[in-house]
């Protein structure tokens, strides 16, 4: 019998209380009639019968409550719409940000068992993740046992000719082990074999899905065709799946790496990226331990190159700068704040409404509705509001998502656009239910406790006095959270302004940049390249409105590589960050076109040729480092395999971007390089400084290039100022998002204060009437209401500031040196909070002042 009573708990309590005893009686009679084996049958039947009927009873109640809710909300459309909109904002903001965070940080990478994929890096003093050299990679692969596969790749760019206009394509050259290590097979065709990867083998290539669609219109017979990449014919052997974006989303083709034996000579040729797959059961820690043992062995074996060169293994999922990661968490935190405020706001609305409805509920209680029933009804109402808000929130998220797309870092092998898929919708659903519960439970429990006959008593005043504390607490919380958001937005804005104020060292305005690819081996000879540069530059300089033009190998802020060790007076130093510089080959006129000041000596010159002393122009910080307080002109240093003579000194530029430090710069004359050497560094980027915006010159420049070499594609056309702006683009988007969140939070908090005070004023109308009748002045009444508002604000601002300081600390590393306790920001946020309080209290205060004493007392 006890079992049956237990089963009855599936029914709602009220139903159980009403019919439970009788049901037990009936059941015991039924059990008495059955005997032996039949009893078991009765039990089984009863079990399913109870489940089914209990569900049906619950459903009946739900249906009733839903209809009742529909009626109740239709009677209070203003309340319903406000609650739904506020919820939609909260859920929408979180859903949009979650879809981004999930896409970038949480979701597994699109490879089988991607948690076992790692990237391997060299670690040098000053460089925590340095690309490994081919020789070290080969030794790691030979010695390591922690991995079941290891492969290396580099990214590359080639000219494609023979398929319409010449095109620049981005691709990756990979060893044959990369795809098996990733666990990816082609959509059709085959992957690279060891034979394809051998030096001198006929070149083969895999197409990306996008390139296959674009170039060949998804022609399935593409396998076996040949494409001319940099004048070499490549055999197409396969097409990769649509979702395969490796190492990044911009890659359009893959070729076999085909390392030459000579590539394994120089252990300081840091040019590879290495991916590996952990053996099943091997932890990342174990792999790291093994790699550091291996690095130690290589250090002893090759002391010249490998001193202090470590080896690190990082999970591929973590291939993301801490800054990008923190940026996303900041957004997520900000969105969560919006949701908290939204919850507090709707809870407050519901509380106010519940107080107003006290009598209605009391009537229902008097007519036999139990407390459980009332609570259930109110919970249904909250959930209906939440679900409607949640649905609208998904729409908000969908609309807001395009704003966030630019925050997806390009360093991950994932698509550039997060999607609102089932996973995100499930998140939104759970969030909605939590939201509904959060704002619904408090009011429901409160009413459940209070719904008694008391509510019916004539003149009973709803929501007076001490019960108001809960609503006041919610408003205080709203103020606190909005302060946190305001301060975060303020700090981020200060950081952005500070970074934007950084002088890049060059003037980016009115500079047009573009790339001509100069495919090898066609441009292998230095003088062939020189002829090309001179022809282009001479004609471009002749165009009207051109101030200067020059070529460089690698634009600042676009390419941060080309880092070489420096030695002065033959002193061999360890390969550490403190003694490196970035190398760039340039043509004369580069400093003029970029407005980089020449402080001493001269520019590189056309007469700096291979048969003369190798010259170099260095930057101020280079001089500071090696010859402080001395005249650097005429000094020698050893750099990039040659002895070089300092002929000029220029200002420093931010090669690696506005944030963070850059190595000193060494500029080398474009003609001082032997044929076929350093072709990777050959100047390919044309910069043109105009007296006005040079964008209009582009057609003429293209024509000049076409006339010089019809097969030369022009790519990466951009204004240099856009390059500089793109440095801060993720930040400014982030700031905009946090700013919008802060504005919403702020508005909601103001509405919260306004709502609370309005309610208080309407409750106190008779009291105010009496006060006025007794001779209180309007100023007193005004002060009374404003004081209440101000005390709410103060109570919220104080904890808000403490929380904001903690939040600022947590995001310190994205603040670019702005103090988390930045006084200006905190002061501004506080002032805004005060303004908000005054604005929120003003209308209720005016209403209080305008109370007519006679009417107020008559109503009582």
């Amino acid at each position: 019998m006890r079992t049956y009573r237990g089963l009855l708990h599936f029914y709602p309590a009220a139903f159980r209380a009403e019919y439970g005893e009788e049901m037990c009686a009936i059941f015991s009679q039924r059990l008495r009639l059955a005997s032996g084996f039949a009893r078991l049958g009765v039990w089984i039947a009863v079990f399913f019968e109870v489940l089914f009927n209990a569900l049906a009873v619950h459903f009946d109640i739900l249906w009733q409550d839903l209809r009742y809710t529909g009626r109740a909300l239709r009677r209070a459309p203003g309340f319903a719409i406000t609650a739904i909109l506020v919820t939609a904002l909260g859920v929408g903001a979180n859903t949009a940000v979650f879809s981004l965070t999930d896409h970038v940080l949480i979701r597994p990478l699109p490879f089988p068992q991607s948690d076992r994929l790692v990237k391997l890096w060299e670690r040098l003093p000053g460089y925590s993740e340095m690309e490994p050299s081919p020789a070290n990679y080969r030794d790691w692969k030979k010695m390591a046992t922690a991995f079941e596969g290891m492969g290396a790749f580099t990214t590359t760019a080639v000219n494609l000719v023979g398929q319409g206009d010449p095109q620049r394509l981005e691709g990756a050259a990979m060893t044959a082990d990369v795809l098996p290590t990733l666990g990816i097979t082609p959509l059709f065709g085959r992957t690279f074999t060891e034979a394809d990867d051998r030096e001198g083998a006929p070149p083969t290539m895999l197409l990306s899905y996008g390139l296959w669609q674009g170039l060949f219109g998804s022609d399935p017979t593409v396998i076996g065709r040949k494409l001319l990449l940099d004048d070499r014919p490549y055999l197409v052997i396969g097409v990769m799946p649509r979702e395969f974006r490796f190492p990044g989303p911009e890659i359009e083709f893959w070729t076999a790496a085909q390392f030459a034996e000579s590539a394994f000579q120089d252990r300081s040729d840091n040019s590879l990226e290495v991916v590996a797959r952990l053996r099943p059961g091997v932890t990342l820690e174990a792999a790291r331990a093994e790699m550091s043992v291996i690095a130690g062995q290589l250090e002893r074996q090759y002391p010249k190159d490998n001193t202090k060169v470590g080896a690190v293994a990082l999970s591929m999922r973590d291939e993301l700068s801490n800054k990008s990661r923190l940026l996303l968490w900041v957004l997520m935190g900000a969105a969560l704040c919006v949701l908290l405020i939204a919850c507090a706001n709707v809870a407050n609305l519901l509380l106010a409404r519940a107080l107003v409805r006290e009598k209605e509920l009391a009537v229902r209680a008097a007519m036999g509705a139990g407390r459980e029933r009332l609570v259930r009804q109110l919970a249904t109402e909250s959930l209906v509001l939440a679900v409607l808000g949640g649905l609208l929130g998904v729409v908000v998220a969908f609309a807001g998502l395009p704003l966030l797309v630019k925050l997806v870092p390009t360093s991950l092998p994932i698509s550039q656009a997060p999607s609102l898929d089932l996973r995100v919708l499930a998140f939104a659903g759970i969030l909605t239910l939590l939201t509904g519960t959060a704002f619904g439970v408090l009011p429901a429990l409160r009413i459940g406790r209070r719904a008694g006959l008391n509510g019916l008593r004539e003149g009973a005043r709803a929501g007076g006095g001490r019960k108001g504390w809960l609503r006041a607490a919610l408003v205080v919380a709203e103020v606190s959270v909005s302060i946190v958001l305001l301060v975060c937005a303020g700090l981020l804005m200060r950081a952005l302004l500070r970074i934007q104020a950084v002088d890049p060292g060059f003037r980016a305005d009115r500079v047009l940049a573009l790339k001509t690819a100069l495919p090898m081996p066609k441009f292998r000879k230095t003088e062939v390249r020189a002829a090309f540069y001179n022809r282009i530059l001479t004609e471009v300089r002749r165009l009207p409105g051109v101030v200067d033009a020059a070529y460089i190998g690698g634009l600042p802020m676009v390419w941060g590589g080309g880092i070489w060790p420096v030695s002065v007076n033959g002193e061999v130093r360890e390969r550490v960050a403190a003694y490196t510089a970035s190398m760039r080959y340039i043509t004369p006129g580069f400093f003029g076109a970029m407005t980089i000041p020449l402080h001493q000596g001269r520019d590189v010159s056309d007469t700096d040729t291979v048969d003369r002393q190798y010259a170099a122009v260095v930057s101020d910080s280079f001089v500071q480092k090696y010859w402080p307080h001395e005249n650097p002109l005429g000094r020698h240093f050893q750099f990039a395999l040659h002895d070089r003579l300092v002929v000029g000194v220029v200002g420093d530029i931010h090669v690696r971007g506005l944030e963070g430090l850059s190595e000193p710069q060494v500029y080398i004359p474009y003609r001082q390089v032997l044929d076929g050497n350093f072709t990777f560094y050959a100047p390919r980027d044309l910069v043109v400084k105009g007296s006005t915006n040079p964008a209009g010159l582009l057609p003429a420049i293209r024509q000049i290039i076409r006339d010089a070499d019809a097969q030369q594609p022009v790519s990466d056309v951009r204004m240099l100022s856009d390059v500089v702006d793109s440095q801060t683009a993720p930040r400014s988007i982030q700031l905009r998002v946090v700013g919008v969140f802060a504005a919403i939070a702020f508005l909601l908090a103001a509405i919260g204060i306004h709502g609370l005070l309005s309610f208080a004023v309407s409750q106190r109308t008779p009291e105010i009437g009496v006060r006025l009748a007794l001779g209180a002045r309007a100023g007193d009444i005004l002060g009374m209401v404003m004081r209440q508002g101000t005390s709410l604000a103060v109570a919220g601002v104080v904890p808000g500031i403490v929380l904001a300081y903690a939040a600022g600390h947590a995001m310190q590393s994205v603040l670019a040196g702005v103090e988390p306790a930045d006084a200006l920001t905190f002061a501004s946020a506080t002032v805004l909070a005060i303004v908000m309080t005054v604005a929120g209290s003003f209308l209720p205060a005016m209403r209080a002042v305008n109370v007519d004493p006679l009417q107020a007392m008559r109503a009582e």
């Binding site: 029914y11 139903f15 009403e18 019919y19 005893e21 009788e22 049901m23 009686a25 009936i26 059941f27 009679q29 039947a45 009863v46 019968e49 109870v50 089914f52 009927n53 209990a54 049906a56 009873v57 009946d60 107003v356 409805r357 009598k359 209605e360 009391a362 009537v363 229902r364 007519m367 709803a462 109503a859």
Partner: protein
């Protein structure tokens, strides 16, 4: 004051909840119709209803306790039944038992259902799906 008006409205609404047209409840769930039939001639308690329905249908339909009380609850809300306060003589009574009586409105609804079924049987006969003549 606004508050007073709202509460008065709430009361008014509950009081004046008009009973819907009997036809709007049709077709009745089988259990509901059987319970109404069982209560047609006398007030009964729950177990008596189960037994009566079983007897009427020669044991075809054995209502479970859950189905019975779920139906009863809904029928009470719909106004088809009321619970009666009068109890039988104490020696026949079990104080746990509740007795139910059909309301005039319940009678109307049952009759409407009866009409609906008769009509249906007539149609079935005309189509040759039921024994007898149309």
């Amino acid at each position: 004051m606004a508050i007073k008006n709202i509460s008065t409205m709430a009361i008014m609404e509950v009081m004046s909840d008009k009973l819907p047209e009997p036809e709007s409840l049709l077709p009745l769930p089988a259990a509901t119709f059987h319970i109404l039939m069982s209560l047609a001639d006398e007030d009964r308690h729950g177990y008596a209803i189960i037994q009566d329905v079983a007897a009427r249908t020669d044991g075809e339909l054995k209502l479970s306790a859950g189905t019975l009380y779920r139906s009863i609850q809904r029928m009470l809300e719909q106004g088809l039944l009321v619970e009666v306060r009068e109890r039988p003589a104490p020696e026949l009574d079990d104080e746990r038992r509740r007795y139910y009586r059909i309301t005039p409105y319940g009678g109307l609804v049952a009759r409407a259902e009866g009409r609906r079924l008769t009509q249906l049987v007539r149609l079935a006969k005309a189509s040759g799906f039921a024994p007898g003549r149309a």
